[in-house]
Subunit: 136 residues, 6 copies
Amino acid sequence: MRDEIWVLTTNLDDCTGETLAYCMEKLFDAGARDVWYTPIFMKKGRPAYALSVMCKDDVKDECIRIIFRETSAIGMRVSREERVLMDREAVTADTPYGTVDAKLLTYEDIEKTTIEYESAKALAEENGVPLSAILK
Amino acid sequence: MRDEIWVLTTNLDDCTGETLAYCMEKLFDAGARDVWYTPIFMKKGRPAYALSVMCKDDVKDECIRIIFRETSAIGMRVSREERVLMDREAVTADTPYGTVDAKLLTYEDIEKTTIEYESAKALAEENGVPLSAILK
Amino acid sequence: MRDEIWVLTTNLDDCTGETLAYCMEKLFDAGARDVWYTPIFMKKGRPAYALSVMCKDDVKDECIRIIFRETSAIGMRVSREERVLMDREAVTADTPYGTVDAKLLTYEDIEKTTIEYESAKALAEENGVPLSAILK
Amino acid sequence: MRDEIWVLTTNLDDCTGETLAYCMEKLFDAGARDVWYTPIFMKKGRPAYALSVMCKDDVKDECIRIIFRETSAIGMRVSREERVLMDREAVTADTPYGTVDAKLLTYEDIEKTTIEYESAKALAEENGVPLSAILK
Amino acid sequence: MRDEIWVLTTNLDDCTGETLAYCMEKLFDAGARDVWYTPIFMKKGRPAYALSVMCKDDVKDECIRIIFRETSAIGMRVSREERVLMDREAVTADTPYGTVDAKLLTYEDIEKTTIEYESAKALAEENGVPLSAILK
Amino acid sequence: MRDEIWVLTTNLDDCTGETLAYCMEKLFDAGARDVWYTPIFMKKGRPAYALSVMCKDDVKDECIRIIFRETSAIGMRVSREERVLMDREAVTADTPYGTVDAKLLTYEDIEKTTIEYESAKALAEENGVPLSAILK
């Protein structure tokens, strides 16, 4: 499966970690598909972070606005990129502690199952067992 | 406001930090708009840095030459990317210790002011106060 | 010299370092030109790594398959990028401990020589001297 | 003001980001004072993270147990370190949008005020203004 | 179980990634228990790496000598630290593709099993299956 | 040669890169021997930096004060560590472009020479040659 996605990127050397975490939260609230920070070293010896956002057409303008409103960014790069995706289907998986939500992922003849984190976490906490007891 | 910018990128596992800092200085001297280093982990267990440069058409060829001359790079990726920018206007801002240079930035209805670092630094040092006393 | 190259990128917050190193090995075995990991900070407080692969047309599909098979990735960005390369010629270089393989690299009037790591390493180990005694 | 604190540290190359974030949550729940992850590059080309925990005597044993239970760690370094701390007093600060919780911090003749993040965040969200409008 | 271990640390801003990887190899050959690199940002805008080595008494002097011989270090910090370790016992684990070497780890009432990477890797390659098919 | 040195460390999630670079400058002005930043990932999804300072007894108190005055730190760890150092002697080294300042470093039977960066840089710039032409 293929689609296209927008990637927004900006380098931030005058924002705090608190502000960066707050901005990430607002971007996810607005519908961004992924948001991440990369440590970078900028001019004048400044340790900094690059902010990257992946989003679809419908929320792109709002994501740009959030970045300008919530961070010190005065510009950002905007590029459209192609993605290759595995097909995904919601399934459930059995664990020694009960059933969890999972995704069955397929691409050509490759098949794998991923357990949903929130579902595994809930089961681990309910049963007082390590997360790894559910995920394995 | 929109424009287009060149981004040059290369991965360097056989350059020292001294050389990387020297190269950044030469790139800014040549007119690069931004230069940054990202820590990356490469083949054969090599801790390394990716060099990234943003520049306009007029200095692109010189930036490529500086990278080839000053680093161990034998190739680099060159891509043209679109940017979204806030409109900017030079203004001044009042602080308890005097006036500093600032930029008034606007994008649609979003407006913010950024104090120029060098101006804030000069005022902090003149007055023997923390930088934060000026920037706030 | 110019060419074009594919860059595959995916963010991995549910893969271990062991798996990432194994996947890098498989990608190089399949003919990838370069593979690297970048530390990134993702949603829900997850420390993670971005995987990047540079490869030519002939192995692109196999690289995509390796990433889907060996990691937890459910999607990846795929972009075609232009590269600028120095011309390269296999040469040898003399060191106080014997001859090593090297590359003579040229771009316009810029010329530099890079000693091949594996060749330098072999000579350092044979002679019981530091690697730097060969590389200088 | 001075005190002593335990620092627990372990390098993890066979844990996922999901697991690391889960473990951080459990460590804070148990009373750890600070928990953080540092990207590191380990043997056999493995991109990894170091986990560090700062905690007081009363929860040290439980923090050790959480790390062993929730991660792949088979050992950790445990050291007792001295800290220098600013004196802190709970205060409030006025902002254009209302009052926020803050801390007045003093050390010898140095005095500064830090606004509490959660309090600033609540006010920003209530008033539909950027976080920076509160923090400044 | 508790023991004590030496930790050697030095910051390197004038060493290449090639040299750092070579030095790691020599340190492990000499008997170091763990070696890792941490990205750091140093003076004069230099992107750099910190080298850390954990070793026992018997190889400490040789590890110091390797660092001085193979890197640009002119000094290093040397500290003795306490460790808490899980008890470990060599066991085997069954997988759908055969038996692998593993370690049974115990600490108080916590018990976990870790599959040995090299053993899992060999089995994955023999059977043409993903590494994850063995590790799970 | 052995000596002892103070190491000050603090985690900063509410400081900007501009402020971090300014603080590093003030710490070196005050006589710190080394200052560096390490990217770390802290609580509540905050990308951050750890500040580390190495200093001697005579400037330790001033370094602590600078960190409290110039950053958002409310505490820091302070530890005394032992160092092993190579003996150093100021020498000069010949290059194809003239003489540069260098250090002759010795430890037991290990001997190496390091060219002083500022001296190499001056010569490279005077002669219009790459820095590597001097350093090799």
